[in-house]
């Protein structure tokens, strides 16, 4: 529990207990003959950050797309804010690994996209766009096209577009997977800062163990074929987190723990004879 965060009241169920933002039970996904994951159970609380990590092809991104309503589960149940997910929902926004910016729209127009789809008024859109662009450090780049700015700037734009709709659930699909290592670190710490200012429920899919430990309140390790929740790691690092977090002995311990969990299989997979 984080007692430090106090922003506008978020809806709480009548019973008084906060209901989980996301509730996934016995979720399964299969494409024809290939079963991607099976029996995945996961609850994500209000303003909780869950990092999902696992080897390539374990279905992390697929699971995230299911939460976003882009793909239907083939088994089990998935509820967001108590309602079964049947398609993309209001209050849920996604940041894509490939940025997904519209190349014919300027940075500002891209940030405005979600608001426009939500049918907001132009003056409200303009205000929110300006605010979000400032928040992610894109001020001065409003009128550039995506191909004119760096990968890091493009993903800032992708992040601003998602934040602009003021989502209660933010889905991050390896958001920094396509930027270089230095930019990645810069963006990680900026995201932590932004999250402190605007805490939301976040599901963060990543390949990077460091990133998972740094971002998550919990880490879901997906493993196996079909994959399932192999382990749930509680990350008891204090917030707000920053660069200093990386130097904590506890960070190293957690990192090592997740590493050994994941790598045992990865090493075995490396030595597997390819068919």
């Amino acid at each position: 529990m984080r007692a430090t965060i106090e922003t506008e009241g978020e809806p709480v169920t009548a019973s008084g207990a906060a209901q989980p933002r996301i509730r996934i039970s016995r979720a399964g996904m299969r494409y024809d003959a290939i079963e991607v994951f099976r029996d995945v159970d996961l609850e994500v609380g209000d303003r909780e950050v869950v990092a999902i990590i696992g080897p390539s092809g374990c279905g992390k991104t697929t699971l995230l797309r299911c939460i976003d309503g882009l793909l239907p589960l083939t088994a089990g149940e998935l509820r967001v804010e108590g309602e079964p997910v049947r398609g993309p929902r209001e209050g849920v926004a996604m940041v894509f690994q490939h940025f997904g910016l519209f190349p014919w729209k300027t940075v500002a127009q891209n940030v405005a996209y979600g608001l426009k789809m939500a049918g907001q008024r132009p003056d409200a859109i303009a205000a929110k766009v300006a605010q979000c662009i400032k928040l992610v450090g894109l001020a001065g780049f409003e009128h550039y096209y995506p191909h004119q700015v760096s990968g890091g700037m493009q993903q800032r734009c992708g992040l601003a577009r998602a934040l602009a709709v003021e989502p209660r659930v933010l889905l991050m699909d390896e958001p920094f997977g396509a930027v270089d290592a230095q930019t990645r670190e810069i963006l990680q710490f900026e995201l932590l800062k932004i999250w402190e200012m605007r805490p939301t429920t976040m599901v963060f899919v990543t390949h990077s163990i460091d990133e998972a430990v740094l971002m998550g309140d919990r880490i879901v390790v997906l493993k196996g074929r079909p994959s399932g929740v192999h382990e749930m790691v509680e990350v008891d690092l204090p917030r707000p987190r920053s660069r200093a977090t990386l130097t904590l002995p506890r960070f190293a311990q957690l990192r090592e723990h997740v590493w050994s969990t994941l790598m045992a299989d990865a090493i075995a997979a490396e030595h597997e004879v390819r068919q």
Binding site: L101, M117, Y145, H147, Q154
Partner: protein, 254 residues
């Protein structure tokens, strides 16, 4: 740094054009006037038709035909292309016809058009349309079908409806491809225009060429041809400009 090669380029082009003009002139002196006229005679003939207003009248008549056919070709080709790219059964049903017509030399259809539509403006416009529509249609289909699925996914994720998906994703994505088609249509439409003016009721610049040829007025014929060449070159430039205008982001790939 950059100026010297640019000047060299301009000088070379100018020299090449001057040499071409000289060859034209000299070849005119040594051949029968029934086949070839010197550049000077051609220019004199051009000045004559300009003075009498014949050229302007005929050029305007040709241009009306060309523009009407081209505009209808773009107005039909682009939306139909988007529709075919998006509606699978329609595409499967019509694909083979489109390929067949695209591959058909349109000149072969002119006698058929003449026999069912006769003379007049409409059949000629149809010829220009047929020459111009397929590059637009074909490029639009190819463009709309290659729309990046991740952009469609982004639109879905932000709860875009089908109509908004067209406006915000499909049409902007396809526009540069359509413009490539328009550039090709600009050139092909010109061929269609001259063919229509030759083989249907003679009119415009086509008629000038025909009349020049039949009356052994080689200079007059060459003058009309020269105008068509210059117009073609101008429109290719326009086409390239149009294409570039809408394709600025095309090099972008995340």
């Amino acid at each position: 740094m950059n100026q010297a090669p640019a000047r060299f380029r301009r000088v070379t082009i100018a020299a090449s054009l001057v040499l071409g003009a000289i060859i034209w002139q000299v070849a005119g002196w040594y051949t029968s006037n029934a086949f070839w006229a010197p550049l000077s005679a051609t220019l004199a003939s051009l000045a004559e038709v300009v003075r009498t207003g014949v050229l302007l009248r005929q050029a305007v008549s040709s241009f009306e035909l060309y523009l009407a056919g081209l505009v209808v070709a773009v107005a039909v080709g682009a939306p139909l292309g988007l529709l075919l790219a998006r509606v699978r059964w329609l595409r499967v049903a019509l694909e083979d016809y489109i390929l067949m017509l695209y591959a058909t030399p349109m000149v072969a259809l002119i006698p058929f058009i003449l026999s069912i539509m006769g003379f007049g403006f409409a059949p000629k416009m149809l010829v220009v349309f047929l020459f111009a529509v397929f590059p637009v249609l074909y490029n639009t289909i190819e463009g709309a079908r290659s729309v990046r699925p991740e952009l469609v996914e982004v639109a879905k994720s932000f709860r875009s409806g089908e109509w908004r998906l067209w406006c915000d994703v499909l049409i902007p994505y396809t526009l540069p491809f359509t413009m490539t088609g328009v550039r090709q249509a600009i050139a092909r439409g010109l061929v269609g225009m001259v063919a229509a003016e030759f083989f249907l009721s003679p009119s415009g610049l086509g008629q000038m060429i025909m009349m020049g040829s039949q009356n052994f007025d080689t200079a007059g014929m060459l003058a009309a041809i020269l105008i068509i060449v210059l117009r073609g070159v101008g429109r290719m430039d326009l086409g390239r400009h149009l294409e570039g205008r809408f394709a600025r982001w095309r090099s972008y790939s995340p």
